[in-house]
């Protein structure tokens, strides 16, 4: 237990933990087998209020900050990194619905889990580097006409789809498209290395027309929007590492070698201690950055923002690499019983996702060098 959390945060953590263990864990075999997330689990997440977490109270949310968001991400990811990911998409993207009055109508259905919101932000050309993207939307009278493709989306079997794209004036906007809109095809779901059930795939827009008011601004310079995602991602990676480590420690206590538990072997207990150390450091780093962000929201200070940006980049890198390390070592400790069990080995593929999602870690190293003043943009 971390003494960092206040009473309310501990209660939040325990509640999400109980939900994950009692309601999500029993569904994992089915999710891993079908690569589909049960619709009623989305609804349940909405009932519990996960998507209201960082929405201002005047709009029906709880007005909470990054620490609470990380708590939800971490606890869900311990059991299901994929569920943590789909919840994160809502936590990050639903606040965009407040940016444009015409989008308000989706706010309550999305927060309550009645409607699922998906997010797309990877163009085939330039991938994460939006400077290389071709324009996605062209204005035609009272409508935007969208043409293009987005890869590696999450939740793409959704009711409302959000895609980031450039206008012909190279202005970055978030475009919202309702399921069934002609010219919008989100039917492709990829069989990925990890994150089974997160519904990721390719979306195609072909002369897809939406009203002008179905778009809102997302400034490409809005660094907080992106750095927030890195903090969330690090919290998910942390939960993923903790989830497989907890299972592995239990396993090593029960599994015997020469009538003695595996933990009686020094090589095993030392390795578990080392992995626990990595997780503890990751935990401290994630919540340090989250606390710093919440402080930044209260008192905007450019110096603090720069320090936080470096921290957000660093923790996304460190914790995602840690998750891969922890998950891989844990599966090795399980031996064949881990390699042959999807309920265990999914953590390896899931952990790898954190090294790639949002921005690949190689791009993060590059960004970090830039923020440190080592290179020029």
């Amino acid at each position: 237990m971390s003494l960092l959390f206040n009473e309310e945060q501990i209660l939040l953590r325990n509640t999400v933990r109980e939900f994950a263990e009692n309601e999500v864990a029993p569904r994992m075999p089915e999710i891993l087998k079908t690569n589909e997330f049960p619709r009623n689990l989305y609804k349940r997440a909405g009932e519990l209020g996960f998507w209201r977490l960082n929405i201002p109270e005047k709009h029906g949310g709880f007005g909470k900050g990054m620490v609470e968001t990380c708590i939800v991400m971490e606890e869900l990811a311990k059991v299901s990194p994929a569920m943590s990911l789909v919840v994160e998409i809502g936590i990050v993207d639903i606040p965009l619905l407040l940016e444009e009055p015409a989008l308000y109508k989706y706010l309550e259905p999305c927060m309550s889990g009645d409607k699922i919101l998906s997010g797309a932000a990877t163009d085939p050309k330039g991938q994460s580097n939006s400077a290389e993207w071709e324009p996605l939307a062209v204005k035609d009278g009272n409508e935007w006409v969208l043409n293009g493709t987005r890869l590696y989306n999450t939740n793409n079997l959704s009711d409302i789809h959000m895609t980031l794209g450039l206008t012909q004036d190279r202005e970055m906007k978030a475009f919202f498209i309702e399921k069934g809109t002609p010219g919008y095809d989100n039917s492709r779901v990829d069989l990925k290395y990890g994150m089974a059930g997160s519904g990721g795939g390719t979306t195609i827009y072909k002369d897809c027309r939406i009203p002008l008011e179905m778009a809102c601004n997302v400034g490409i310079g809005d660094s907080q929007f992106y750095y927030r995602i890195y903090n969330n991602c690090a919290a998910e990676a942390l939960g993923c590492a903790e989830g497989i480590l907890e299972k592995t420690i239990k396993f090593c206590k029960l599994r015997t070698h020469d009538f003695k538990p595996l933990t009686s072997l020094q090589v095993v207990s030392q390795k578990l201690g080392y992995l626990r150390t990595l997780v503890e450091v990751a935990h401290s780093a994630v919540y340090d950055a989250a606390t710093m962000f919440d402080e930044l929201c209260k008192n905007h200070d450019p110096e603090l923002e720069r320090a936080w940006a470096i921290k957000a980049e660093s923790i996304k890198l460190f914790v995602s690499e840690t998750a891969v390390k922890v998950a891989t070592e844990c599966i090795k400790l399980h031996g064949g019983m881990g390699y042959h069990n999807p309920e265990l080995h999914h953590y390896v593929g899931d952990a790898m996702c954190y090294c790639i999602m949002d921005l690949s870690n190689d791009i993060h190293w590059d960004n970090l060098a830039l923020l440190m003043g080592l290179t020029e943009g």
């Binding site: 237990m1 009473e7 309310e8 501990i10 209660l11 939040l12 325990n14 509640t15 109980e18 939900f19 009692n22 309601e23 009932e47 519990l48 209020g49 996960f50 209201r52 977490l53 709880f62 909470k64 015997t256 009538f259």
Partner: protein, 254 residues
């Protein structure tokens, strides 16, 4: 307005307890509302709704049990009372019931007290009967269904081999089994709302009771399952299986 009061206990989380080699028990930080008490709280919230009154909570514990207020309030209670007494750390069933009954008198206007059948740490199952005796109220135990009808209630009791239906007039003390409800998980709205609800501390000395007991817990030991570590090496596979079956028979497995 009459109140429905749920008694609950703040216990060490079993998941945070380690049984060591010498069977001594190491308790760490984590505590929680006793598992079955969640059902009692939910039963109180449901009963209060049917009676058109408020459900409140009451716990008896040390300084640390103050942390139980928000988790209890997030489960739908309007107000939480907390008896703060260091003696709670070593209290037996008598002291616990003395403290709770005195606090119930002090709070006043309580029509229905709901306890769980037993706490998840001690499972002594004494609290409800003792509170009833001290208040001189009827006690209905092992309740799996509760229906409110004006100033009376009908309770279904789950006994060893039958169900018993009891109709009783308020005030009454009830102990419920987990079957009574699923004790739903509180949502985030309820968690955030719990901070705005009232928590009242009652100091142990305010109750005017003697915290003395003739019972002393001398030791708490865990139990551990040992492996027999028998390896069947001799003979063919059929011989090994036969030998295994013999050992299992001797152990009384079948």
């Amino acid at each position: 307005m009459p109140k429905v009061l749920a008694c609950y206990k703040w216990v060490v989380d079993g998941a945070d307890v380690t049984v060591k080699k010498d069977l001594s028990v190491e308790k760490r930080f984590e505590s929680k509302i006793s598992d079955y008490d969640r059902n009692a709280i939910e039963a109180a919230v449901v009963a209060a709704k049917a009676m058109g009154c408020e459900a409140i909570g009451l716990t008896f514990g040390t300084e640390r049990s103050k942390l139980s207020a928000k988790p209890a309030l997030s489960r739908g209670l309007k107000e939480a009372y907390w008896i703060n007494a260091p003696e709670a750390a070593t209290a037996d069933g008598k002291i616990t019931a003395d403290a709770l009954a005195a606090a119930i008198r002090k709070i006043g206007d309580v029509s229905l007290v709901i306890c769980s059948d037993g706490a998840s740490d001690t499972l002594a199952r004494q609290t409800a009967p003792r509170i009833g005796a001290l208040l001189d109220w009827p006690v209905v135990t092992a309740v799996t269904k509760l229906t409110i009808e004006g100033n009376r209630m009908t309770a279904t009791r789950k006994l060893e081999d039958c169900l018993e239906i009891v109709n009783v007039e308020f005030p009454v003390v009830v102990s419920v089994l987990p079957d009574i409800n699923p004790a739903p998980l509180p949502g985030l709205a309820a968690i955030m709302g719990s901070a705005k609800k009232k928590t009242t501390e009652i100091k142990g000395e305010e109750l005017g009771i003697a915290f003395s007991t003739n019972t002393e817990v001398t030791e708490v030991k865990g139990y551990a399952m040992d492996r027999k570590n028998i390896l069947f090496k001799e003979g063919e596979m059929a011989d090994k299986v036969r030998e295994l079956a013999n050992v299992l028979k001797k152990e009384g497995v079948f």
